[in-house]
Subunit: 424 residues, 2 copies
């Protein structure tokens, strides 16, 4: 299949096989739903008016659904509708004689990506973060609790997760201020107050929930799989000194809630389908509700990179090269576990995977791991610049893609700059 509507480079993140959904605006006009194709954005309200989605069962109000400044209404409609929209878009883009192509004024249905502002893809009702990479959990455990207590006894039995802060999830490109807080650098003295001095990134991906479940009604692993709308890149910024002092016994709080950055384009599970791979072997065998009976593998082969642009420099330097396939607990296991208590998941809820570290040092997904808790310098290329943690005005960029045969399913960018702390 080839896009004939606009030209798409083989290195583009957004070929016709991808078609990620996002929320965009042009020149300050009202934000609405778009789909990325090559260097362009398709305007879904405009394509709705041309009748492209008129035959789709369950999408009778497509213009209203796509005119919203968030994807929640679309996410709520479920996989058959998402698939039908994807199919219509692929036919429109690839078939020169498609009836809607004949009427479509290109300047009204599509705009250059370079001219749009991107917004958060959804109104996030609740944001949850998991801790699903065995390598990351082990690394952090060794540093915080020693080698013998690195992995807690529960870790191999359930996807450990915690509730995060939804209000401070921001879209790529939004700068964030370094947080203030309490830390206790010397355990023999009282804590001190001030800006964090151990500010970190966390390389994560995150999925948006689709239809969800009613309060009190758990879902099976198979149901959970159909409830995942799509995936974005995520940087779960972390203030390690604040976190270390506050997190016992109720978990991370101010060490995380000053900001979380997500990429704006949500890549659907249908676009990722060809890139399924086996997840790491699970030993012990998970309890039946987490094992399911699905014949499809639970992992995805998505190559990920983190770069830093230190404030002293104009170039990005590679920090991390990892892959979602290292993740011990699959996305569908995370969602199933989340709802097993009867917790109601709603369209637009966001679930992060936790830091995605791989088995080798160059695949560690945080400065905490790369500098081994600040014990060694991380050297940034040939520039001579080093870091243990993130300085003011540094920029962190996450990118990622699946490599197909002659195309890639890319995620765009998840970028954020850290500005100095503000005072009361």
């Amino acid at each position: 299949m080839e896009c004939t509507f606009v030209s798409v480079s083989p290195l583009s993140d957004f070929p016709i096989q991808n078609l990620p959904f996002g929320v965009y605006s042009v020149n300050g006009e009202s934000a609405r739903v778009g789909v990325a194709i090559g260097d362009h954005v398709l305007d879904l309200p405009a394509l709705s008016e041309l009748g492209l989605f008129a035959q789709i069962d369950g999408l009778e109000n497509s213009h209203s659904v796509f005119s919203k400044p968030y994807l929640n209404d679309f996410m709520a409609l479920g996989r058959p509708v998402w698939r039908a929209v994807r199919k219509q878009l692929q036919e429109f883009l690839s078939n020169d004689s498609h009836p809607v192509r004949q009427q479509a004024d290109k300047s009204l249905v599509c705009v250059e990506l370079s001219k749009v502002a991107m917004h958060l893809p959804a109104k996030i009702g609740d944001y949850t973060d998991f801790y699903a990479s065995r390598e990351h959990a082990t690394n952090v455990g060794v540093m915080f609790r020693g080698k013998d207590n690195a992995l807690m006894p529960n870790w191999t039995h359930l996807p450990v997760g915690y509730h995060g802060r939804a209000s401070s999830v921001v879209v790529s490109g939004t700068p964030l201020h370094r947080p203030n807080g309490q830390r206790r650098p010397d355990a023999s003295k009282p804590p001190v107050f001030g800006p964090s001095v151990r500010l970190d990134y966390e390389l994560e991906m995150a999925f948006f929930v689709g239809p969800g479940n009613a309060l009190g009604e758990p879902m099976s692993l198979e149901q959970a799989e159909d409830c995942i709308f799509g995936v974005v890149l995520m940087n779960d910024w972390s203030a390690r000194d604040i976190q270390a002092w506050e997190y016992v016994p109720l978990g991370p709080f101010l060490g995380k809630n000053f900001g979380t950055t997500v990429s704006p384009w949500v890549v659907t599970m249908d676009a990722l389908e060809p890139f399924r791979v086996a997840q790491p072997p699970q030993d012990p065998q998970p309890l039946p509700y987490l094992a399911g009976s699905s014949a499809t593998p639970g992992g995805y082969d998505i190559g990920l990179e983190v770069h830093i642009k230190p404030h002293e420099d104009t170039e990005y330097h590679l920090l991390t090269k990892s892959n979602l396939k290292y993740m011990y607990w699959a996305l569908r296991q995370q969602l199933t576990h989340h709802a097993i208590s009867g917790c109601n998941m709603r369209p637009g809820d966001l679930c992060g995977t936790g830091t995605i570290s791989g088995p080798t040092e160059d695949s560690f997904g945080s400065m905490l791991e790369l500098s081994w808790s600040g014990q060694k310098d991380v050297v940034l290329g040939a520039s001579g610049v080093t870091r243990k943690f993130i300085d003011d005005n540094d920029v962190i960029r996450i990118t990622g893609h699946c490599q197909g045969n002659g195309f890639r399913i890319g995620f765009g960018e998840c970028v954020g700059q850290i500005l100095p702390a503000k005072h009361i």
Copy 2:
């Protein structure tokens, strides 16, 4: 000051000194903002139409603000507007010759409480729970970690808190299903899956945030005080067996997220003002950002009771008699700490205090404490019925009030029944 518009019993929770805000509906009509007075609800959209709020700066769209099925828009307007509305309502209710009283058709501006359905007071963007009672934290600490490690070193330096689940916060009267989950009753064997067998209540209060702060901009203790709209009763239902197995290292998750119940009437801080009392002495002295310079005391004298109606019985039996004044960390300290990282607080955000236990056994705010982790039976009055935790079909009811001279500032009820677990 006396209400002459409707008669109010001296034992009513809702005299003219209270005037709590809530969201109600009648006969399935659209929900809107009301204020409780005695056994009635005042309809604020109707009073807006009669011009009662026409002179209030900042409330030019009072009809629109009060016609919403949530209080968020009103909460966003800030304390001067809240106070002005309170003043107008008190004048309307107490002054027979008030110009709006002359026009007001009683049947259009007010309805009997017994005829209304109550809804959640706000769209809750984020829900946070603190852990601010020293007695509760000590009791739980002794049970989970032994006497020597009961209070973590951070506890007296900061109000420990964690992010909770907003989607499953429900209004009083909503039944909840017992959660399923993993627990590990025998530490020498693998965990098992099924309904929780140690289901508990937690006696809490919670405050709704008003105007809030922009991301990256902390607020002072004095600013925080003006950002608290009002207070409700809360039951932070907890599955102790699920919680105990899952909570290390990232905190409570499925042990809490199956449901949290709040009372429907939000009692404003202005109504509570006469009931301020000194909070417990804080030693060590908190860091300056938590100490502030306010001359007003940080505590509130609010008597609280928890009753249980076991499924074998038709009567309620007293479980707990406690008071908000026992709380070590004041509400304003909780909010200041929450935002000190730059975390943005939004109108309608909900912050729970954590379990409010007092110094004596009869003031313990959870079954976990009353049965000392299931080691002893809690005897329910003369009925002969006993409990260690909550059984299916039991009902838990929280009530509370401040005792004034000839009147009480009450909170109504926070009631919930536990239904059997549902299976996948």
